[in-house]
Amino acid sequence: MSNTSTLEPQSTNGTARTAANSEAVKTLSQLQKGYSLEKIEGWAREGRSVIWGGNSWEAPLIRACDTTPVGFAELWKEDSLRAESVAENHYQIPGEFCSMIKSMIGRLHLRKDNAIKRILYFGSTCEPISMVLDHAKHDAYDVHCIDAATAFKEGERRTELVAFLINELQKVSLWLTGKGVDEDRLSEELRFKNKIVRKVRRILDLRLKAPFYLNSTPTSQILLGSTHYFGERAKYEQVLDQLIAELEVAAATPETRFFIPLVLAGGVAGGPKLLKIIEEANGVVLGWVIHSTSDFREDIPPLESVAHYLFDAQLKGELGEGAGASATLRRRRVEELVDATGARGIISSFVTGCPYGSVVQGLERQYFKKKGVPLVGLEHSVHAEEPPTEEQTTRIKAFIEMLA
């Protein structure tokens, strides 16, 4: 593991055109590798409070409760094929449901004897997730639901919605700590999160001018890290600072190489393999519509801020189905990014079997067809163990070739 001294600028000599030798990228990679399930479970065994879930809009609250939230995505990073088969056999989850929920519940079952025994989920998430977590109770998991609350449309009354959610968030604190929310701690967490997100936005902006400096895999790691900080917030922040310094230098030299700027709408839950295919075909993902890069408001009480953050995200179609985001409004963010990045096409990606992803993609396909912006749909599983399919590779390559 690198120490902080290795984060001094290494490639800011004005000539670096890729981050191949960047110490910041190396450290980022180390952070990513170090953020493993074994390590997280180790924290729990040492007596730290750790829960499954709570790693999205609610993460600052969970941290303010002295608890580490672990994203469900960690459950399918490894051993997901076996986990899926456990879900289908042990819990009899029908085959048509997505690999994500099956891997989640299968892995929770396989790791039932480990130290993380609490699960938090949000009631506005999709039914497959909400239903599958019920099975976890049979393995003695303590499952807590933040009751469903959704802002469906702009302009609808929000006062009662905010009040209800704040109360639900207080219940989360009681569940985790036995007492109400420490609002000072929460404010501090929100400020830190905002600071991090500002830096992430700066990196994404600089990538517009230096699209080859930082490729898609570390960029997606940065976005992912903005939710969990890889469990090492100071080091993660240093990586961001370092990358900004490097990118500022790289961005000073106008980019002349050929590439196709793209917006990626949706995630790539099965790991970076699809991102690599995009790059091999001369595509560069400059716009990412998966993790929110919005700020929490600091001018209102912190719990209220968390509530508004969630409801605003739902209305912008941010944060995906896990947060109950709007299917029709995500296109606004996609369109914003197409304009801001000069993207020539959109790759709309979702996990096979996901109803949310399928309808979002359908609606966006119609919308952008009218606007004249090409869009290709891409389905994938969460299995990092599986190589990309021939169909995925062909679709991506053909799409980018067509744009060229």
């Binding site: 048509e96 039914e127 019920d134 099975h135 009751d147 469903a148 959704t150 299917a327 399928s358 359908g362």
Partner: protein, 399 residues
């Protein structure tokens, strides 16, 4: 046996079911023809119909489905990964079905995420309002929040009609709908008789009235049916008793019942799904704040699997199986229905605990698997009949 068939036919001839179906047909036409009134469609049983009636709108649940052609119209938006019922809801709008096209507004209390997404698509055809429905059905906070959403619903209806909804009228409608639910439950309970006069399909036809008829028409019509059934002589010969449990069996989705009851002569004596008896097990308080009463009552209703804790829905289903002394359960979930597909193990385990035989079917509205379905159902019934014969033989020996 021949006499039995004759008697049953005779009894059925007396049932005023044809008249009931005609009432529904006439009401649907009247809704289409009406010019001077707002028309509202709603999707889920968690929508307080009392408010729709109190607002003076003509209303109907969007519960039609069963055609593969309509499903494929819906798939223009959803691809294949939604259940066929959801796809049908969208499909009718896409096809320009006159009944669906006639609505001025559609309301959906957020039940499952899939239906939420479908509502977002339906918005492209007709103004649609989504409202929150909490999941934690026993929580006091959830009930208070649901009351607020019901008030939003009330205000929205007032805006739609241009006339505020009157509290006294809400009270009146609560009383009327309590009557309707109570009669439908009592009619269902007559199916506890050893040889019920009503088939499962006929009961579902009566339930259609709850979704299509104005309550003032519905109540007297149901009373007539109840009186009629009540007066029929009770036949003591016990028939094989089956329960259907799981996803919605929509108006038009009679494929399974046609096989079970029409072709194989089996009898469904009870069903646990949201187009059967399930919504009639609750009573709304007729005193105090009507909006709190609606919030409490609707959250207390026998729950959809979407509601938490899931155990409540599972227990209810098990209780129905006991109450109606069923011999076997056909657990049917629509493909891609997460509420009943992902949780099927919980329901099946509950029935197994009661020693019941279960046939699990994954269903959709296609016609290609008809033969396979029939063979599986036939085999299931044969096994149950053999067990029944063995049991009565055993009882005979013990006696």
């Amino acid at each position: 046996m021949a006499n039995d068939v004759q008697n049953t036919t005779k009894q059925k001839a007396k049932l005023p079911l044809q008249g009931f179906a005609k009432l529904i047909e006439e009401e649907q036409q009247a809704l289409l023809d009406a010019k001077d009134v707002k028309k509202v469609g709603y999707i889920c049983n968690y929508t307080p119909v009392e408010l729709l009636a109190a607002a003076g709108v003509r209303h109907s649940r969007l519960i039609k489905a069963g055609s593969a052609k309509t499903v494929s119209a819906g798939e223009l938006y959803t691809q294949s990964v939604f259940c066929d019922f959801t796809k049908s809801c969208i499909g009718f709008f896409q096809e320009g079905d006159p009944f669906y096209k006639s609505f001025d507004k559609v309301y959906n209390f957020h039940t499952c995420a899939t239906m939420k997404r479908a509502s977002e698509v339906i918005e492209q055809f007709v103004p649609t309002r989504l409202l929150n429905l909490p999941k934690l059905r026993s929580s006091e906070d959830a009930r208070n929040f649901f009351r607020e959403e019901i008030l939003n619903f009330k205000d929205d209806l007032g805006e739609l009609t241009g006339k505020p909804v009157d509290d006294a009228e809400v009270h009146r409608q609560i009383t009327l709908y309590n009557q309707a639910r109570s009669i439908l439950k009592r009619i269902s309970e007559l199916r506890k008789r050893p040889d019920p006069a009503l088939t499962g399909a006929e009961y579902l036809d009566l339930v259609r009235g709850y979704y299509y008829l104005p309550v003032e028409t519905l109540v007297p019509a149901l009373e007539q049916v109840l009186r009629h059934l009540d007066d029929l002589p009770e036949r003591m010969e016990r028939r094989l008793r089956l329960m259907v449990s799981g996803s919605i069996m929509a108006d038009g989705d009679r494929r399974l019942l046609d096989i079970l009851e029409g072709e194989l002569g089996a009898r469904i004596v009870i069903e646990d799904h949201c187009a059967g008896v399930r919504p009639f097990y609750h009573k709304i308080s007729e005193v105090g704040d009507p909006y709190q009463a609606l919030a409490n009552g609707y959250l207390e209703q026998a729950p959809c699997a979407r509601m938490k804790p899931l155990e409540d829905g599972v227990t209810f289903s098990g209780k129905l199986a006991q109450e109606y002394s069923v011999d076997g359960v056909i657990y049917v979930f629509l493909k891609f229905c997460a509420c009943y597909g992902v949780s099927k193990k919980e329901f099946i385990t509950e029935f197994q605990k009661q020693g019941l035989s279960i046939l699990e079917l994954s269903s959709d509205y296609s016609e290609s698997d008809y033969g396979q379905l029939k063979t599986r159902i036939e085999a299931f019934i044969e096994v149950l009949n053999e067990r029944g014969d063995a049991k009565s033989h055993e009882q005979h020996i013990n006696a």
